[in-house]
């Protein structure tokens, strides 16, 4: 790392890296800047710069229309707020019920192992063997058949935003609160299951062995050996996700999935900026209160 270099005569100067390392870094930066310029060029080309230059005036205009917020509109927002809270809460509860089995199927130490024929094990390509197979004897293999399916469920539900799930569910089961609840719960499965299965994999085996040693069956081992160990994580994840879901459920209505977002969209459509500003304030309060409640509950649990 640190090197010295002759400069001119016989004096040595400290520098952080060798000349070669500096060159590599310089080229890295050059490529990075080029990629950024390419991206910027595209955005700049797709932008109507007149509007951007006009932005301060428009902002001031919108701000003057949006203040003061139309306070009496709050009486009409009671129902939507109740719906929003329900979407987040019921969605989280359903998600937890669905995530728990997925997490147990995804954790390497609890996923069911299916014995398979050794010939089948031998013809399997090696990356698949590494992922799925466990050698239990001289010529005996078991396969974690359900693990890849559970991991697929986790990845696919996690990578798609709840708004997109809502969009899809509104198209499938029609607009309304129910679509919002389903969207929130589907989106949360992957998140909850991922954190849960990581915690299941980290449990203390000795406690499980102690329960097994009393002669407990498989289900009893699960209930008395494993579940008490992951219960704090489960509660923490539930509250954490509920907090995120309050945040997300406030906007789901924008695509028709119920809650206060629906009112936001209709106010935007008629350019009633004083209603929009009130709704945004309500959303902000909901998010802050949700965060506060979740922090309090997590503090009490952990």
């Amino acid at each position: 790392m640190v090197t010295t270099k002759k400069s001119g005569g016989d004096t040595y100067v400290w520098q952080r890296r060798t000349n070669g390392q500096y060159m590599v870094r310089w080229f890295g930066w050059l490529i990075g800047v080029m990629i950024f310029m390419w991206a910027w060029n595209y955005i700049s080309g797709a932008t109507t710069w007149f509007y951007v230059k006009d932005a301060p005036r428009v902002t001031a205009d919108i701000f003057s229309r949006a203040t003061p917020p139309k306070w009496e509109y709050i009486y009409q927002l009671g129902g939507p707020i109740w719906d929003t809270i329900n979407i987040a809460t019921l969605g989280t509860i359903i998600a937890l019920f669905l995530a728990i089995p997925v997490a147990f199927l995804a954790a390497t130490n609890t996923t069911p192992q299916v014995p398979i024929h050794p010939v089948l094990a031998r013809i399997m390509p090696s990356p698949m063997r590494k992922l799925l197979l466990t050698k239990t004897g001289e010529n005996n293999y078991t396969m974690a058949l359900f693990r890849p399916i559970a991991l697929l469920v986790i990845v696919s539900t996690r990578s798609i935003n709840s708004l997109i799930w809502a969009l899809l569910l509104v198209a499938i089961i029609g607009p309304g609160v129910f679509a919002g609840i389903m969207a929130i719960s589907i989106r949360s499965i992957g998140f909850c299951a991922k954190l849960l299965y990581e915690s299941i994999e980290e449990i203390n085996v000795i406690q499980v062995e102690a329960v097994t040693a009393t002669g407990a069956g498989k289900l009893q081992t699960l209930v008395y050996g494993i579940v008490p160990q992951i219960l704090p994580t489960l509660a923490g994840v539930a509250v954490f996700r509920w907090d995120i879901n309050i945040r997300e459920s406030t906007i789901l209505g924008y695509v028709g999935a119920g809650g206060i977002g629906l009112w936001l969209q209709s106010s935007m459509n008629i350019l009633a900026w004083s209603q929009v500003s009130l709704i945004l304030l309500v959303i902000l309060v909901a998010v802050v209160v949700g965060e506060w409640v979740s922090a309090k509950v997590r503090g009490a649990i952990i």
């Binding site: 990075g32 990629i35 950024f36 390419w38 991206a39 910027w40 595209y42 955005i43 797709a46 932008t47 109507t48 509007y51 951007v52 932005a55 428009v58 902002t59 919108i62 109740w82 719906d83 329900n86 809460t89 019921l90 990845v155 696919s156 990578s159 798609i160 935003n161 708004l163 997109i164 969009l167 899809l168 198209a171 499938i172 089961i173 029609g174 309304g176 609160v177 129910f178 609840i181 945040r247 997300e248 406030t250 906007i251 924008y254 695509v255 936001l264 935007m268 945004l280 959303i283 902000l284 998010v287 802050v288």
Partner: protein, 274 residues
């Protein structure tokens, strides 16, 4: 063992073991239980479900699920590729700008580096950015800047600042001051102190977080199109509206694929630098 404890033990001998309750105080336990049941009954009864509509929808749902077996990349390829290109471009540009701005703000929001006025301004910026969701910012910015990727770019940059500066500031506040003092003791100026005493300590975390943020920005860029802020979201929404589920499936598969690649890369890089 004390006498009381042994008396307790003899009292317990011969009785079946019962799981201790989760909440010790009985009134709190029952109170919470009754409250939650009342809430659940009220909440569930207020959800109106049109089951006949759901039943009709199930057929469409099945069609959507089967579309994943047969995704149609080709017939709308022009729209898909344009939307994806825009999403990627927005992700790159907003991540670069967001990260570049969040470094000074992160330094300013660290109490052990910044003076009080700078600290409060930077913390204020972070709180505003974190309290507003990307989607809400995008709605407002589209109204201000007009349709197109510029609004999405500004939205994502702003959201990146809140996320990255906060975590960066926490990292800097938890750093080891001795290394910084050693650099200061050589007579280093403020810049040199930051560059040689502070920056090497937060760099691994910054790199890890930045890559994670690129991942988030890409995911978010997929929904900004719903309000006209550019990206693949517009194409996706159109394909849903037209019940063109084969195209939707293709777009969703591409999103999942790119997110998986980004997650893998971010795990790899974080493993390398930390």
């Amino acid at each position: 063992m004390s006498i009381a404890a042994s008396a307790n033990l003899t009292a317990m001998v011969g009785k079946a073991w019962k799981k201790p309750p989760f909440i010790k105080k009985p009134w709190l336990r029952w109170g919470l239980l009754i409250l939650s049941v009342v809430y659940l009954v009220l909440a569930i009864s207020s959800v109106e479900v049109d089951w006949s509509r759901v039943y009709i929808g199930l057929e469409r749902g099945a069609r959507f699920v089967t579309a994943f077996a047969n995704p149609d990349f080709s017939s709308q390829w022009e729209n898909i590729s344009e939307g994806m290109y825009e999403s990627i471009v927005m992700t790159v540009a907003s991540s670069v700008v967001g990260i570049a701005i969040s470094i000074p703000i992160g330094l300013g929001a660290a109490r052990n580096i910044a003076p009080a006025p700078v600290y409060f301004v930077c913390r204020g910026i972070i709180s505003i950015s974190r309290a507003l969701q990307e989607f809400v910012i995008a709605i407002l910015l589209v109204a201000i800047f007009g349709f197109g990727p510029f609004a999405g770019f500004v939205t994502l940059s702003f959201a990146t600042i809140g996320f990255l500066s906060k975590l960066l500031a926490e990292e800097i506040e938890a750093m080891d001051p001795i290394q910084g003092e050693a650099v200061k003791a050589t007579g280093a100026r403020w810049w040199q102190w930051i560059n040689y005493g502070v920056q090497p300590q937060f760099m691994p975390r910054l790199i890890g977080l930045s890559i994670y943020r690129v991942d988030i920005n890409f995911r978010e860029s997929a929904i900004l199109g719903l309000v006209g802020a550019g990206g693949i979201g517009a194409t996706l929404a159109t394909s849903f509206d037209r019940y063109d589920y084969d195209t939707s499936a293709a777009i969703l598969l591409m999103i999942i694929g790119i997110v998986m690649v980004l997650e893998y890369v971010s795990g790899f890089v974080r493993g390398k630098v930390q």
